[in-house]
């Protein structure tokens, strides 16, 4: 005799350890199966776009730190590149190299967080992979501290360059880091990639097809996991990426495992990129001086970079004043949530957290 079940609506969040901020999900279950899911966001809306309309172009750099707080460098980079495009500011070559080194370090840090917390949410190891990830991330944060004195909210970049050059200790630490990191990635992968529990929980869970991903403007590792080889660093090279060689790792299935696997391989590619950039970096100035209250010409500019979570873009409208007339942020986390319902419907209750974790969103960027 079949059991008769009634749909039950359950509220997940807004305060929940797995939501990476404050995010609410209204989920309807039929037994163990999810039949409907509705994301409710905005609990961390701070009005960044409105605040930007009342600050000078240099001050806004600090606002961008607080969008995706695990990858401040790429947020800074995307913003300052847009301002530079708007005002036609040239950036010295040394600054461009340092920006690439910093972005790639930040990408490693962000992917370590994504991987570590995904494993934590699987609940399989009592926190071991997370601690492995955090141990390495800590070294990156120490290096950032040498660059600018801050560990998380960095504000290291300025329109026109960087705030200061890297000290000699930074290069020593970076050399040690890049020589040790491949070994640590292998160590981390040995815990995860062949683990039967992880494979059973992540393979064929939360499958996203490439057609849906492209239609729904999904970017970043989530898009590449579906098998679309699209990376802005290759497709539209910015800074000095076209003088560096690297591969764009892709997945085949678009499931949770592929999203994890793409990230782990991107860490390896980032180490390669850093090594090449350190070899090639020339000496010279690190900033084109601009006045603190500088006024770009009237006009609009859109520019985006490949942030760890996807394509982060800024659209700035200038009316010739000291602050932007409009500053729109195209945030990858927010738009990647478009397909959350597709991924969840049909999955079981236990997979909900894992699927959400594999999208790798940070609510500061979703709600802005």
């Amino acid at each position: 005799m079949p059991l008769k079940t009634e749909p039950v609506t359950i509220n997940l969040g807004p305060q929940h350890p797995s939501t990476h901020g404050v995010f609410r999900l209204k989920v309807t279950f039929d037994g163990e199966q999810i039949v409907d899911a509705e994301p409710v966001m905005g609990y961390m809306h701070r009005g960044t776009e409105k605040l930007a309309e009342e600050r000078s172009y240099v001050q806004i750099v600090t606002l961008t730190d607080r969008l995706d707080w695990v990858s401040s460098m790429t947020n800074n980079l995307s913003y300052v590149r847009t301002v530079e495009k708007l005002a036609n500011i040239d950036v010295p070559i040394r600054a461009q190299y340092l920006r690439v080194i910093c972005s790639e370090l930040q990408r490693i840090a962000s992917h370590l967080i994504a991987t570590g917390f995904l494993m934590q949410e699987l609940g399989t190891f009592g926190g071991t992979p997370l601690m492995y990830c955090f141990r390495e991330r800590e070294k990156i944060l120490d290096m950032f501290e040498m660059l600018c004195g801050a560990r998380v909210t960095l504000s290291y970049m300025r329109p026109g360059g960087l705030i200061q050059d890297a000290p000699p200790e930074f290069w020593e630490r970076l050399k040690i880091f890049t020589s040790e990191m491949p070994g640590y990635v292998d160590e981390l992968e040995s815990l995860i990639s062949d683990n039967e529990v992880v494979l059973a929980r992540t393979k064929n869970v939360g499958i996203l097809s490439d057609r849906v991903a492209v239609d729904a403007s999904i970017t970043g590792p989530m898009l590449r996991a579906t098998g679309v080889r699209w990376d802005l660093r290759k497709a539209h090279p910015y800074e000095i990426y076209n003088s560096l060689h690297f591969e764009v790792p892709i997945g085949s299935n678009g499931d949770t495992f592929d999203r994890y696997f793409v990230r782990i391989n991107e860490i390896r590619e980032s180490i390669k990129l850093i090594n090449q950039a350190v070899e090639q970096i020339p000496s010279g100035p690190i900033r084109t001086e601009i006045p603190y209250f500088f006024k770009p010409p009237v006009g609009t500019a859109f520019s985006s970079v490949e942030a760890p979570k996807g394509e982060l873009g800024f659209y700035i409208v200038s009316d010739g004043g000291i602050s932007p007339y409009r500053c729109h942020i195209r945030s990858p986390s927010f738009i990647n949530l478009t397909v959350l319902k597709d991924l969840l419907v049909g999955a079981s209750m236990a997979d909900l957290i894992v699927i959400f974790g594999s999208i790798d969103v940070v609510m500061g960027e979703v709600d802005r």
Partner: protein, 157 residues
């Protein structure tokens, strides 16, 4: 390196009936009237010479005399991108056909524009506030938005 399709490149591709509906062109985008948005969007998405299968960004700007909605499109197959925009002059009830049936990526972005700028997208599957709460008074990204004191219990909506 991806190529940006400027208005002069687009004018070569567009058929005559669409070309005549263009209101204005500037250095980097073409401007069309709100009622023509769907027709253009379908063409940009389906034309084999354009294949704009992704909407990277959809946003609004309040220029006080009018609202401008800016669409940034990209073709991953052809590695090209383009911009088009539309102007809405009605301030009391600004509305525009939704393109979320053509690009799903516009879904959340249109809701965000509705929430913060107050532009209603017709035929959108779920046109409701997304970042602010239901019942919030006003649309913060409009230039005439007045700040409210949220600590004042009587004033907070």
């Amino acid at each position: 390196m991806s190529t940006i399709l400027y208005p002069e490149n687009l004018l070569e591709i567009l058929p005559d009936d669409l070309k005549n509906s263009i209101n204005d062109t500037n250095s980097d985008s073409i401007s069309i009237s709100p009622s023509e948005v769907l027709k253009f969007a379908k063409f940009f998405r389906n034309d084999p010479r354009l294949q704009m299968e992704t909407i990277i960004s959809l946003t609004g700007v309040d220029y006080i005399e009018f609202f401008e909605i800016v669409y940034h499109l990209r073709s991953m197959k052809r590695n090209t991108s383009m911009i088009f925009c539309t102007q809405i002059f009605d301030r009391s009830d600004p509305n525009l056909p939704s393109v979320s049936s053509i690009w799903r990526g516009a879904d959340l972005q249109e809701r965000e524009v509705f929430d913060l700028m107050g532009i209603r997208f017709t035929n959108h599957p779920n046109m409701s506030r997304i970042l602010l709460w239901e019942g919030f008074n006003g649309h913060p990204l409009r230039k005439d938005f007045e700040y409210i004191d949220l600590t004042d219990k009587n004033n907070a909506s």
